[in-house]
């Protein structure tokens, strides 16, 4: 085997040769030739390294195939020198590469820093600003150099978040690594900008705070827009006053910051009439004028709750009466709206309370209830909150709220008060009267709940139930006592009379119960009958053969003229007239003359008359003498249960059959 062949085999066996076989052969043949020519072994050693045969095993394999120890030593020395040089060159190259990479990386970071759209600033732990980018400098209107003469704690603004500097201290002390807030800055030119600021803490290798980086973004425009949107969301566009939402949040603030609080809850009297007669534009302008007066006449928070309702909130009030009085005076001065000179009064509910004793919700509810009291006391006045009245009112509302469920649970029942002929006391009809068997309060009369039902609208389902129940009962009696014509009277309120579904409901009920409309009497108050909105219904009912009675005639706005125009069949004389009637001998009382006139007048136009609340025999005698047709009252019978009426009918049947 040749020297070159042997050498090559040793090298390949020793380890990694980054040359292919041909290249290696070529290299080794050349080197062997140089050795033979007497060149120093050092050249050969260096050449091996140059050919990347850098594994020390390559040197060992080479030394092994060279017989002459002197030459072998030269090769080893040359190899070692060359590998040292190559290693240093590689390391130098590597370091250069690292430096270039770092420079490139830094240059990119520098470009990012310099050209960033957001402001970036670096400050030392003592608050000195070390470096800022152009965006930050532009934001505050300084040059970058000028910025570096500023101190972070000098960049205060009155609107800084309360705990901002505490937060900054937290970063400086290394307690927190980031804080973010909205912060305003003064620009060099005195202007003001708002920013979204993030301050981050940078720590050294040991974790000690080293410097901070602040990043700021200009949010001035965004903030302005946000403010505007907030204003829109919390203010009434018509009057510019705080709206219900804002009032609610102001109230929460007042509860938080004050010991006591006062509210004037006010509402314009008869505002709807102005809207209806002069138009919504005038109405709107009037509301705006009222708002302006409210604002001018008080330093307190005034707001519009909606419609024509306003509030004034008072922190730690001194004299709410004085305030309410002055508001009333101020608002009642005439307004000039377009060509109209308007006067309008207001009603005010006034509440004053320790904040500890109530809540914002309760306070507003109390104010609302008190306003309601001022309205029902006659308008154009203020009423101070009264806890007892409030309790009563609250109880009424509670009752009203229970009514729909009570209807479902069938807690209402009917009783029937007989109406008798004053000629012979024969039973002519019954008036159905509703009672509420309240599970907690016991039996409640209609006076306690019908007005509530009327306010809340429950009257409509309740009224339908009463009518259907009464007709069904009447039909049952008619079946059991054929030949007895007993009329059924049922009361009807204003809103029932106005209900567009009334006629359809009545038709349905008559159909289902089979009750004869000619024996149905619907009793309405004078005001319900006179209301033009109900006229069509009255005619519709009359066309079906139903008779209309005017209940409590004489207690209201007794306009006799309408009796001719409207389909009225019966007048029911109110109790006070009947009460005024005395013995036969002293029949010259005023009441008697009134009653006599009414009866004569009614009869003249074909209307029959029923006297209510007949309690004594002399009253009965007088009424009979004056020609009154029927009577109703304790003298004849108290209201009876349905079974008692059945009994009465049975008895009258046997007595009449006895007559036969």
């Amino acid at each position: 085997m040749s020297f070159v062949e042997l050498w090559r085999r040793q090298l390949v066996a020793a380890g990694f040769v980054p040359l292919d076989a041909g290249q290696l052969d070529e290299l080794l043949s050349g080197l062997a030739g140089r050795l033979r020519a007497g060149d120093s072994g050092e050249v050969v050693g260096a050449a091996l390294v140059e050919a990347h045969l850098t594994d020390p095993a390559m040197l060992a394999a080479t030394v092994e195939v060279i017989d002459d120890p002197r030459v072998a030593a030269q090769v080893a020395a040359g190899y070692a020198q060359a590998i040292r040089a190559a290693t240093m060159a590689d390391q130098e190259e590597l370091n250069q590469a690292v430096l270039r990479a770092l420079r490139a990386s830094e240059a990119r970071l520098r470009a990012v820093f310099d050209n960033a759209a957001i402001g970036i600033g670096v400050s030392a732990m003592d608050g000195r600003i070390v470096q800022v980018n152009q965006a930050f400098a532009d934001l505050l209107g300084y040059t970058r150099e000028q910025m570096c003469h500023l101190l972070v704690p000098g960049l205060t603004h009155p609107e800084d978040p309360r705990d901002m500097w505490r937060m900054y201290e937290g970063v400086i002390n290394g307690d927190v690594d980031h804080v973010r807030m909205e912060k305003a800055y003064y620009r060099k030119d005195g202007g003001e900008i708002w920013t979204d600021l993030t301050v981050s803490l940078i720590r050294d290798d040991e974790g000690r705070p080293e410097f901070t980086i602040a990043m700021v973004q200009d949010i001035t425009d965004r903030r302005r827009l946000k403010k505007r949107l907030e204003h829109q969301a919390t203010h009434d566009p018509l009057t510019g006053l705080p709206n219900r939402t804002k009032i609610a949040s102001d109230l929460v603030r007042i509860f938080r910051d004050n010991a006591s609080v006062g509210v004037c809850y006010l509402d314009l009297d008869g505002f709807k009439r102005i809207n209806d007669t002069l138009g919504h534009q005038v109405g709107d302008e009037l509301l705006a004028a009222v708002a302006k007066r409210l604002e001018r006449s008080t330093n307190h928070v005034a707001g519009r709750m909606g419609g024509d309702e306003f509030v004034v909130l008072v922190e730690d009030p001194a004299d709410m009466r004085k305030l309410a009085g002055s508001l009333l005076r101020e608002l009642s001065r005439p307004y000039v709206i377009r060509k109209h000179r308007l006067r309008i009064s207001a009603s005010i509910g006034v509440v004053e309370s320790e904040v500890a004793a109530t809540s914002p919700q309760e306070l507003m509810k109390a104010a609302d209830l008190t306003l309601y009291a001022a309205k029902s006391d006659g308008r154009g006045r203020f009423v101070m909150y009264d806890s007892e009245r409030d309790a009563r009112q609250a109880a009424r509302y509670a009752l009203a709220a229970e009514m729909p469920d009570a209807l479902d649970r069938r807690e209402f029942t009917l009783v029937y008060q007989p109406l008798v002929s004053l000629q012979d006391r024969e039973l002519r009809g019954v008036e159905a009267l509703v009672r509420w068997d309240h599970p907690r309060l016991g039996r409640i009369g209609p006076d306690a709940f019908i007005p509530l039902a009327e306010e809340t609208g429950v009257i409509l389902p309740l009224g339908r139930w009463v009518l259907e129940e009464a007709c069904a009962q009447a039909a049952e009696w008619a079946k059991e006592f054929p030949g007895r014509r007993v009329a059924m009277s049922v009361n009807m309120t204003v809103s029932q009379a106005h209900d567009p579904g009334l006629l359809a409901d009545v038709d349905g009920i008559l159909l289902r119960t089979g009750w004869d409309p000619a024996l149905l009497v619907l009793e309405l108050t004078e005001s319900a009958v006179m209301d033009p909105e109900g006229t069509a219904s009255l005619h519709g009912l009359a066309e079906r053969g139903i008779r209309i009675a005017i209940d409590d005639f004489g207690t209201g706005y007794s306009n006799l003229a309408y009796l001719r125009r409207l389909p009225v069949h019966v007048l029911k004389l109110a109790g006070p007239f009947v009460e005024g009637l005395r013995e036969d001998g002293e029949s010259d009382s005023v009441d008697e003359r009134i009653v006599e006139t009414i009866i004569r007048l009614a009869h003249a136009i074909g209307i029959s008359v029923t006297a209510e609340a007949v309690e004594t025999a002399p009253q009965e005698a007088t009424l009979r003498r004056l020609g009154c047709d029927t009577g109703q009252g304790w003298l004849f019978s108290r209201p009876l249960s349905s079974s008692e009426v059945t009994e009465l009918l049975v008895n009258s049947l046997s007595s009449s059959s006895a007559d036969v």
């Binding site: 390949v12 990694f16 980054p18 040359l19 292919d20 076989a21 041909g22 050919a51 990347h52 850098t54 594994d55 190559a86 290693t87 590689d90 390391q91 190259e93 590597l94 250069q96 590469a97 690292v98 270039r100 990479a101 770092l102 490139a104 990386s105 990119r108 970071l109």
Partner: protein, 265 residues
């Protein structure tokens, strides 16, 4: 990728795959951290140096093979620190009109490559992650003509892409970017044919070093979807067209890596 604009960090306090590779190939372009990691890996997988070297030798053989088949454009992704017998040396030696683009994610390797290639026409170096195909293609397109065949070299790279990052999609994107007649080269670490303790050791190495995903032959072969594998197909690295003058490797599976070269249909 989202961090496209962010310069890759230069952090010489952490080992880099490119510098570890350089160490295994006998270079001195590495730092103590790189050598420390290399020694750890070597202790656990004694064949690793051999694997790296045979990978290097395979690359040289394969480039010669490609040049001989008329390929004049090379896209070497995961090129590392250039050492003896680089792709550009081999390709330019064979055909002076060859064009070579190196891609690596290590900024130091890239700077090093730039220094070596300074003044060499028709070469370029790109700093990019192998997964960022879009960026690689955009940059490489400045030198390479993607209407002409290109050899895409993925030597010892795909096993650095975890399954979660869908390596097949990366390969497919590269395939779709080159015209028919182009070539794909892959060498990839595997557990096939490895003794259990080696597999365990490699699993452990995954915890300390850059994570390597070992894949079976079928999975690697699937990356060649759309390519026709040149003889002898996907084989253990030493078996891929070995130099007839070199002694035959008795245990080619010991390198624990497959290699294959395919031509796009």
């Amino acid at each position: 990728m989202a961090e496209d604009w962010v310069p890759a960090g230069v952090d010489v306090s952490r080992p880099s795959a490119a510098r570890v590779y350089d160490y295994f190939l006998g270079g001195a372009h590495n730092f103590a951290v790189d050598r420390q990691l290399a020694e750890q890996i070597e202790a656990m997988t004694p064949n690793i140096a051999e694997t790296m070297r045979s990978n290097r030798v395979f690359l040289r053989r394969a480039v010669r093979f490609l040049v001989a088949r008329g390929v004049r454009q090379f896209l070497d992704i995961g090129s590392g620190i250039p050492t003896a017998g680089n792709v550009h040396e081999i390709a330019l030696e064979a055909a002076a009109d060859s064009k070579i683009v190196y891609v690596d994610v290590d900024p130091v390797a890239v700077e090093h490559s730039r220094a070596i290639l300074a003044g060499t026409p028709n070469t370029a170096v790109i700093l990019a992650d192998a997964r960022d195909v879009e960026r690689i293609l955009a940059e490489a397109g400045k030198l390479l003509d993607f209407d002409e065949p290109v050899a895409v070299l993925l030597a010892g790279v795909v096993h650095f892409i975890p399954d979660a990052d869908d390596p097949a999609a990366t390969v497919k994107a590269l395939r779709d970017a080159v015209p028919p007649g182009s070539w794909l080269l892959i060498s990839h670490a595997t557990a096939d044919g490895q003794p259990a303790e080696v597999i365990e050791a490699q699993r452990l190495s995954g915890r300390t070093a850059t994570e390597i995903t070992l894949r079976p032959a079928a999975e690697i072969e699937a990356y060649f979807d759309g390519f026709e594998l040149a003889e002898p197909g996907l084989v253990f690295i030493p078996l891929w067209r070995p130099d007839p003058q070199e002694p035959t490797d008795e245990h080619p599976e010991r390198v624990g890596a497959y290699a294959g070269v395919g031509k796009k249909k």
